[in-house]
């Protein structure tokens, strides 16, 4: 488990990360979203022990991460602009990582390179941006670390490769309980892979919630009533987040138990009612509106 408690970081007088507290559970995929300059990269660099927090603590499996080799052995960090040795080939890179990471899986590396159709003997500096990203992910997977930190890793991958990487992640998570921490400015990128999402804004964390919980607690129902009803009366005791009416068609977003909400609607004997799936974006819009932010202005 990774625990960040009241973590702050300043660059001269600029507050990059401000009192961020987050808990990342093992086996979860943690998505860190936010606009440019929200502090995602800084937070991940602190998680990776590159930057020393000016305040607060970051612990990986109970160990302080900064300048702690035991903690650093637990993760692999893929930066948004990964460094590769000049003139090196993936094969040479593999050898280097074999020295650094004792569990580096050489065979898996070769297999994945073949699978992604990347030439192991070709110089990395001739690779495209997307190919370099793929290579970083392959190295990260093969390092066999418990955690993998990805800073904007999916940015630059084509949809096919993105899906391929996601499926590899899913496999690693299921097989060896790997925990990816993925930072991105794009919510849609994280939607189908993250279990838990933290939203950073201006260095501070707006919210950090389990996606499943969020999905369970917020519901969107479309319905047409036989006659005009007092919606607030129908849903008394249930938190209504949004009510949208077009003609006789109501679209209601409410927080609460799904069965309770549908039961209340059924009691009015509606002409039509249906529970719609919520996108991550909609969930975030709802959640951030609660805390007084308009997420459309923050991301997307």
């Amino acid at each position: 488990m990774i625990e960040a408690v009241n973590v702050s970081k300043y660059f001269d007088k600029i507050k990059a990360v401000d009192q961020v507290t987050a808990t990342i559970k093992e086996g979860n995929v943690f998505g860190l979203v936010g606009t440019n300059g929200a502090g995602k990269s800084t937070f991940i660099r602190m998680l990776a022990g590159i930057l020393k927090p000016d305040g607060g603590t970051i612990k990986i499996d109970g160990m302080e991460v900064y300048e702690n080799i035991k903690a650093k052995e637990l993760f692999y960090y893929i930066s948004d602009d990964q460094y590769f040795f000049s003139n090196a080939t993936p094969e040479e890179l593999k050898k280097y990582y074999q020295v650094i990471y004792s569990n580096f899986d050489s065979d898996r590396f070769n297999t994945l390179m073949k699978q992604f159709e990347l030439d192991r003997k070709r110089k990395i500096n001739t690779f495209s941006k997307g190919m370099k990203k793929q290579l970083s992910v392959i190295c990260g997977i093969c390092a066999n670390t418990k955690y993998i930190f990805c800073d904007e890793t999916f940015d630059g991958l084509d949809p096919v490769m993105r899906q391929a990487v996601k499926s590899i992640f899913a496999k690693e998570i299921s097989e060896r309980n790997m925990t990816p921490i993925i930072a991105s400015h794009n919510l849609r990128e994280l939607e189908d892979i993250c279990d838990h999402v933290g939203l950073l804004h201006k260095g501070g964390i707006l919210l950090s919630k389990d996606l499943f919980d969020m999905k369970l607690s917020i519901h969107k129902i479309q319905c047409v009533f036989q006659k005009e009803v007092d919606i607030k009366q129908v849903f008394e005791g249930i938190e209504l987040i949004k009510i949208d009416k077009r003609g006789n068609l109501y679209t209601i977003t409410a927080r609460g138990n799904c069965e309770e909400i549908t039961k209340r609607i059924e009691q009015t004997k509606p002409i039509f009612s249906e529970v719609l799936p919520l996108t991550l974006e909609e969930i975030f819009i709802s959640e951030t509106e609660v805390v007084g932010y308009d997420i459309k202005k923050l991301i997307l």
Binding site: F11, D12, R45, A48, G49, I50, L51, K52, E67, I69, K70, K72, E73, Y77, S79, D81, Q82, Y83, F85, S86, E92, K95, Y96, V99, I100, Y101
Partner: protein, 687 residues
């Protein structure tokens, strides 16, 4: 803890990343040693030089004093230092290296040690190839082997020192260009500050004695390159202390570099300075001396050493240096005058320094310790025996002032003390710099508390003779002033003697050499300054085993020496007498202009200079009278502090050397007040 296995694997991987520096080092060493050596040997073989000569040349080439070796050390250290830790200036490289599970200490050690090996390994391989070439050509010797090993050791030590200093410069900065500036600052800051100090002391204080007269002094101060050059110039027996100090300093600097590496924030990559805390310190350390340098530069290059230009230089240099440093720190020209407190601190410090010098707050010029505080004094007088050669332990010639101030220990220093008092009194007369008839002298006070204080004073002609005469009577003064008192006759190779008429080389056994030296010392001890002012009768030339030559004058009062020389077939009794002078020509160069004036082209009044009269004398009676008042110009030039002459009256003397018509020409002056009346009349001398 990084395992040893991992450490060596990391070293191997790091070496792979630094192939270009290895290739460069290998090429440089290969061409600098085996190839050049082979060319040299081929050349020497074709000219059929003696093997000793060839070995001597090779020793210089591959030995400790090789200029090429020094160049390789300095350039190699700069390249390896900057390239080895260059990754610290790149955010993505820092992110990479600092995220992997390797301790920073290990990362530092890997890069640092590889930087040493990149120099050392190609060096040793090239030397081994060179040994093979030398052996094949039958030039190899034990001395060469020993000298090369010594050279490798010392070069490597100083490579490590300079390399570590450059690594520290990289640690302190976050940008390659700034690192290069930082390197330059760390390598030359000391000498520059010392040069600035010398400039201010010599400009503002009249009594400042510039101890570091040679460039070595400037270069040495806190400069690893200077220390390196000084060490290789010393003989083997003298470098032990330097080696130990350098080794200790290098180890301390390595510890400092490691400390900085571990404390260096990763976010420093790309910034000008890595540590915020060092910014104001470095800024003050640069702005203050740069401003002071600007002031003194404008003062010195402008006409009349103007104070106005001095302050103009200070202001301009302050504004420019402060602004440039702030711009570099912030990479933004709009930040040129940020941090007002630091700006005011710099200005305040500069103002304090200027006030100290302008007002002589420390009473530097009037410094005179009480007699009870002084243990010994040393005095070196300018314009007294300037022709004496001084040497350090009979090996190399050294500066006479340095020799005398170091060796002289006047315990009876009353006369020297009076001399200093007169010098301090004279400071105000000397404000405008040069004064005719003013000669300087340097003093070292060795105080009872162990402190050594140096001062330089000037004295006008009125006081000069009286005070120096008393000082000259002090045997302690003479023993440090004349190096013959320290001469060990065992080192004498040959002794000869010459004067106008004769040049004779003696064949003396050791006992006779000792005798001559002892006789000379006894005579010298009794020499008075009045006698010293007369023309020497002859000069004894002593050649030492190391081929150093020393001329010692023989005056008419040197009865023991003259007797010895006479006994060994050299007539030192007679100097130049009227009988041997063929003719004397006297020219009066005084300004004998009358009141006639004329206007020049510009309308300014211009004096017409009368060239005076030139008279030739051949009458023996007149020549005898003239001779009594003459002093040879060379003797005068070497003793101007103690000989006063009529310098506007020139005397040319033709002496018959032998009976075969050979002559010798001399230029002389009349001692002050010694022009015979008939000469004055003849040449129209104006009193």
């Amino acid at each position: 803890m990084t395992s040893r296995n991992l450490f060596f694997k990391l070293m191997k991987e790091d070496i792979k990343r630094r192939i270009w520096t290895i290739a460069l080092a290998s090429i440089v060493f290969f061409f600098s040693y085996p190839v050049l050596l082979a060319i040299m040997i081929e050349k020497y073989n074709s000219y059929q030089y003696k093997i000793e000569h060839v070995r001597e040349q090779i020793l210089h080439f591959v030995g400790i004093r090789s200029e090429l070796g020094v160049l390789i050390v300095v350039c190699g250290a700069a390249i390896c230092g900057l390239s080895g830790f260059f990754y610290l200036h790149s955010k993505k490289k820092v992110d990479f290296y600092h995220s992997i599970p390797v301790r920073r200490e290990a990362l530092f050690a890997v890069s640092y040690i590889n930087g040493l090996l990149i120099y050392l390994v190609p060096y040793i391989i090239s030397i081994l190839i060179s040994f093979i070439i030398l052996s094949i050509n039958h030039v190899m010797s034990g001395e060469i082997f020993h000298e090369v090993l010594k050279a490798i050791g010392i070069n490597f030590l100083f490579y490590s020192l300079i390399y570590t200093v450059i690594v520290i410069a990289v640690m302190l900065t976050g940008n390659f260009i700034i690192s290069c500036f930082g390197t330059a600052v760390l390598l030359i800051y000391g000498p520059c500050v010392l040069a600035l100090k010398e400039a201010y002391f010599s400009t503002f204080f009249h009594t400042y004695y510039m101890k570091n007269q040679d460039m070595d002094g400037f270069v040495l101060f806190l400069s690893p390159i200077g220390r390196y050059i000084e060490t290789i110039q010393k003989s083997s027996s003298e470098i032990g202390g330097n080696i130990v100090i350098t080794l200790i300093v290098t180890i301390l600097l390595i510890i400092l570099a490691l400390f900085l590496y571990t404390k260096r924030p990763s976010e420093a990559a790309g910034k000008a300075m890595a540590f915020s805390i060092s910014k104001p310190v470095i800024k003050i350390m640069l702005v203050v001396p740069l401003t002071l340098a600007g002031g003194i530069l404008f003062r010195e290059v402008t006409y009349g050493n103007s104070q106005g230009w001095f302050f103009f230089g200070l202001v301009i240099a302050f504004i420019i240096s402060y602004a440039i440093i702030e711009i570099i720190y912030n990479f933004d020209i709009r930040c040129a005058f940020l941090h007002k407190k630091e700006l005011l601190t710099c200005a305040g410090m500069i103002a304090v320094v200027i006030l100290i010098f302008e007002l002589d707050v420390t009473h530097y010029d009037s410094y005179l310790p009480s007699k009870s505080d002084i243990k010994t004094m040393s005095v070196s007088v300018d314009g007294l025996d300037e022709d004496i050669h001084y040497s350090d332990k009979d090996t190399t010639y050294i500066n006479g002032e340095k020799y005398q101030l170091e060796r002289m220990k006047l315990t009876n220093f009353d006369n020297a003390y009076d001399l200093v008092k007169a010098g301090i009194k004279n400071i105000n007369h000397d404000e405008d710099g040069y004064m005719e008839g003013t000669y300087g002298y340097n003093v070292k006070y060795t105080l009872k508390n162990g402190k050594e204080v140096y001062r330089a004073y000037k004295l006008t002609s009125e006081d000069r003779m009286k005070l120096i005469k008393k000082l000259y009577e002090n045997q302690e003064f003479k023993e440090a002033h004349y190096p013959i008192y320290q001469l060990d006759a065992e080192y004498i190779k040959k002794i000869s003697c010459y004067n106008t008429f004769e040049n004779k080389e003696f064949s003396l056994n050791q006992e006779e050499k000792n005798q001559l030296v002892e006789d000379y010392k006894a005579d010298l001890s009794n020499l008075t300054l009045d006698e010293h002012a007369k023309n020497p009768l002859a000069y004894i030339t002593i050649r030492l085993n190391n081929e150093n030559l020393y001329d010692y004058p023989v005056y008419s009062s040197f009865s023991n020496t003259i007797k010895f020389l006479n006994n060994h077939g050299f007539n030192a009794t007679d100097g130049v007498t009227a009988q041997v002078v063929k003719e004397i020509t006297i020219s009066n160069n005084q300004d004998t202009s009358n009141d006639n004036t004329t206007d020049n082209m510009d309308g300014n009044v211009m004096k017409i200079i009368d060239e005076g009269k030139t008279i030739k004398y051949q009458d023996q009676q007149k020549i005898r009278q003239i001779l009594e008042g003459l002093v040879e110009d060379q003797h005068y030039y070497m003793n101007q502090a103690v000989i006063n002459v009529e310098d506007m009256v020139r005397v040319d003397m033709v002496v018959k050397k032998d009976n075969y018509g050979n002559i010798e020409k001399y230029n002389c002056y009349f001692r002050k007040g010694n022009i015979p009346d008939f000469v004055k009349k003849d040449i129209g001398y104006i009193e």
